[in-house]
Symmetry: C2
Subunit: 352 residues, 2 copies
Amino acid sequence: MSGMGDVLENVAIDVWARVFSRSPRQVNAPHESDAELIEVPGASESYLAVTIDTVAEEVLAGLYRDARTIGWVAAMASLSDLAAVGADPLGLVISASVPPGTEPEFSGRAARGMEDACRSVGVFVLGGDLNSAPAFSLTGCALGLVPRNAVLTRRGVRPGDTVLLTGPAGSGNALGLVRLAGLSEELFAEAEYRPSARLSAGGILRGRAHACMDTSDGVLTTLDQLMRLNGCGFEIGCAWERVLARDVLALCASTGTPPWMMLAGPHGEFELAFAAAPGDAEAIEGDLRRAGLAPVRLGTARERETLTLALPDGRRTDVDMAQARNLLETSGGDMRNYLSRFRELGKSWGIE
Amino acid sequence: MSGMGDVLENVAIDVWARVFSRSPRQVNAPHESDAELIEVPGASESYLAVTIDTVAEEVLAGLYRDARTIGWVAAMASLSDLAAVGADPLGLVISASVPPGTEPEFSGRAARGMEDACRSVGVFVLGGDLNSAPAFSLTGCALGLVPRNAVLTRRGVRPGDTVLLTGPAGSGNALGLVRLAGLSEELFAEAEYRPSARLSAGGILRGRAHACMDTSDGVLTTLDQLMRLNGCGFEIGCAWERVLARDVLALCASTGTPPWMMLAGPHGEFELAFAAAPGDAEAIEGDLRRAGLAPVRLGTARERETLTLALPDGRRTDVDMAQARNLLETSGGDMRNYLSRFRELGKSWGIE
């Protein structure tokens, strides 16, 4: 069995989480949902959903060079967590950490990135905090409401469930590859990376999908975490041309990058990965399409707790995502080293 | 008239705030209240109060050396904003930015500081985000509910109002002085600095006080901001032995520090400064005392828009807090220089 403790990030979170006592008003346990769900006195129909997300590492690693991207992602990251629990958003508060001497123009662009992201999904920034720090970072905290009779968390996957995405993925890792390998932005531009929180999808999935989690840490990391939480495994088809977004496929083709890396890397986007009873999947897909989305079938949940890729040539291979997820911590911050060890991982799984 | 734009911090905030469009559900305007107040569908009796606060600068400046202090203050800072709008807390989410290689013991102490702060006022940490950054910082985002018929903001001060604090102040600037002047902690220990969010006071003040703001940026900064927002001034008595906490007075006495600096400095604590009709002040003070607090009368609001100190020798002096508030930005980060320029400011006001 694969435990939560095999993944260093889960262990680091537990250093904090184990200190805190649990609110009697809280519905979810740690790790169990993308947003915290709490009972609010006087609001008997709904739970309040709240989630917080800081964009710092992506700025430091040079992944985002345009302040507008930082603002966009900082807003969308927490709105995406609301989407994954099926919440209707109430708004967003932000905290901006700005190094002394930063041009007001830079801060203004970051603010406009947040505003654009929020307005594109009908949400408002309510207020925030501004402070001085050695590195630029933005924190978003999003609030929403979810009907008590339609709670959607990461738990509830059943063997036999169909596993889907709300749309083609891979754009986060595409930008990651361009930066880590020092490629030209002509191959994949930062401005193309404007992933959207799937709030309307969350409304469609609540009460119908068995479990849901966003792909902010990459598709395979998401499935790995769902596997560890639910104690069941997934068999995933590798029809890259459907699962990966078109511009991501083009990047893979032009650079000779194996497509699996665009799913296995740690920099994701904001699609929702969800599991639903096979009999419900088709109706859900129809509703998602009517909402303007392009859902993708990934595969099937099953009892054996492994993450198995069904390769185009008919072979099946189990991938140990704990190795991939711990690689950032274990490769000592050298990004070229990280990238080459990542490719070797694929060879060891037999999928290079 | 003293505008909001005279203070560099207000200008910096507006670089962000002017970009964001306003939610039709939001009750307060920018700068108007310590927490954002929003209408929640299905909760017709209450507004949701939400506020976010990052503790970063105090860590960088070496003000806090014990992770427990960082955690304590990060939790209390946003809970104090809830107190200042009279909200009943629902909980707190946090974002921790931790440099690579930080000892788990350090993170654990910060977490325990947060937990201790929360439990001391009956609040729970609901969840959060963990990320890697060059400097340690903690962000808290607190949620609460406030009755719609008892909204408390920073606006509403009327000339003639009595101005009070929920308790003696100055401990934040006492710790600041110890650090900036390189004094021994025997004079004022970091562990003594455990200011508490005045949540019970907020419940007493709502619907009765005309305006309220916490002293997190120091008492005189708070009054200065209330002056700019309300377009009226304050005459403040200088009975230091009542206004300053006992250990702060002792620090002043043993180091020859003029007591006004403990009110004028920018590092505050979490008392509430509030204005109430003279006829209501006594009843409010009684209720605060019954809640275990030791309220202090500061002075009176009046039409003329200046901040005037009534000195013990009978003289009156107008202090321009914009100069003091901008000093951190204008003294180029040299803390000794900052401290000596601060003392000179007092001389120019005739209060050294």
